[in-house]
Amino acid sequence: MFKKFSSEDVSSQNQVKASVQRKIRQSIAEEYPGLEPVLDDLLPKKAPLIVAKCQNHLNLVLVNSVPLFFNIRDGPYMPTLRLLHQYPDIMKKLQVDRGAIKFVLAGANIMCPGLTSPGGALDDEVEAETPVAIMAEGKQHALAIGFTKMSAKDMAINKGIGVDNMHYLNDGLWKMERLE
């Protein structure tokens, strides 16, 4: 989704009101309970939280010019991969097999066979429409962040797109470590 993304795609950057900031913090805390103790370090209450609005109804949450979370159209907030690498356990993980790695790194969505074949792993509790971390077979760090299209149980049976690839390594958002 961030295949082509640069600072020119950002239409506006605004510092948000404290009430909005509280709402964002709350929704992030709900979505990622594992992040709660560290939430104060990542999103301090006193620090100005900036939301950058970009094309395709995309909002980026920035703290100190560093993008931390993003969401589309008031959907759930998803962390950037850099943040996920630092705190890997906040999201459920789905693993794809080796052959899929280079396609995912080119922005492809993840098909069910990639998760069900030997080399792939499914976490049975995962529901549809949730953000998940995509790991790769044999690698320690997350490869991408996706949004499930169907629940894990459905993925085991079906073929077709299982997880939408939202953000992957070396995409536009990964390359943008800071946004002025």
Binding site: Q86, Y87, Q140, H141
Partner: protein
């Protein structure tokens, strides 16, 4: 609940900006290899072996060539592998610098193109290789020769300056006077093949 989760420090490759284990999927694994061997040897153990093998074969080659040939040949062959390795190192050094310059020889090429039967255009290519701003250059040219000059984009990224009229033989002097960075030897005319400068 668990303690405060500590931030995990991830080793990112400075060349492809990916976590070290993903370098093989990055844009240029070859460039990452030397860095990987130094900083993350445990991720790619076969790389270490490869590098060792390569060095071992090079050393054995050198030994062989030194042993077989005579004194005169020794000088030549020992310089050859030396050259090969140093040029390889040079290549390796150049590319990570960011810009992959494909051996751009610094030269200015001047060409004359006929526009109507009487009128022609003088095209100058290669001024920007000397660090000259083309927009300033074209203004100066136009003023000096009292004619129109413009910067035109060629079919590739290369840009050239078009000056109306035939100013070929004044141009060499003008260039060398205004921009002393350009030596006369670097200016070429096109007359069915490049010619040495000063007409």
């Amino acid at each position: 609940m668990a303690e405060k989760p500590q931030a995990v420090k991830v080793l990112y490759c400075p060349i492809c900006s990916l976590p070290a284990e993903y370098c093989e999927f990055g844009p240029d694994f070859e460039k990452c290899k030397p860095w990987l061997i130094n900083n993350a040897p445990d991720l790619y153990p076969h790389l270490l072996k490869e590098a060792d093998e390569r060095d071992a074969s090079k050393v054995s080659e050198q030994l062989q060539s030194v042993g077989i040939s005579s004194a005169a040949d020794v000088a030549a062959s020992s310089s050859q592998p030396g050259d090969a390795s140093s040029s390889k190192q040079e290549e390796v050094k150049r590319l990570p610098g960011g810009k992959i310059k494909k051996k751009e020889k610094q030269e200015v090429v001047i060409e004359k193109v006929v526009r109507n039967r009487r009128k022609c255009i003088t095209i100058m290519k290669g001024l920007d290789l000397f660090g000259i701003k083309l927009s300033d250059a074209s203004k100066k040219l136009g003023k000096k020769f009292a004619t129109g000059a413009s910067v035109v984009k060629g079919p590739t990224e290369k840009e050239q300056i078009d000056v109306q009229g035939d100013i070929a033989y004044d141009i060499v002097e003008f260039i060398t006077e205004t921009w002393p960075a350009v030596p006369e030897t670097a200016i070429f005319f096109i007359e069915d093949g490049k010619k040495v400068p000063a007409a």
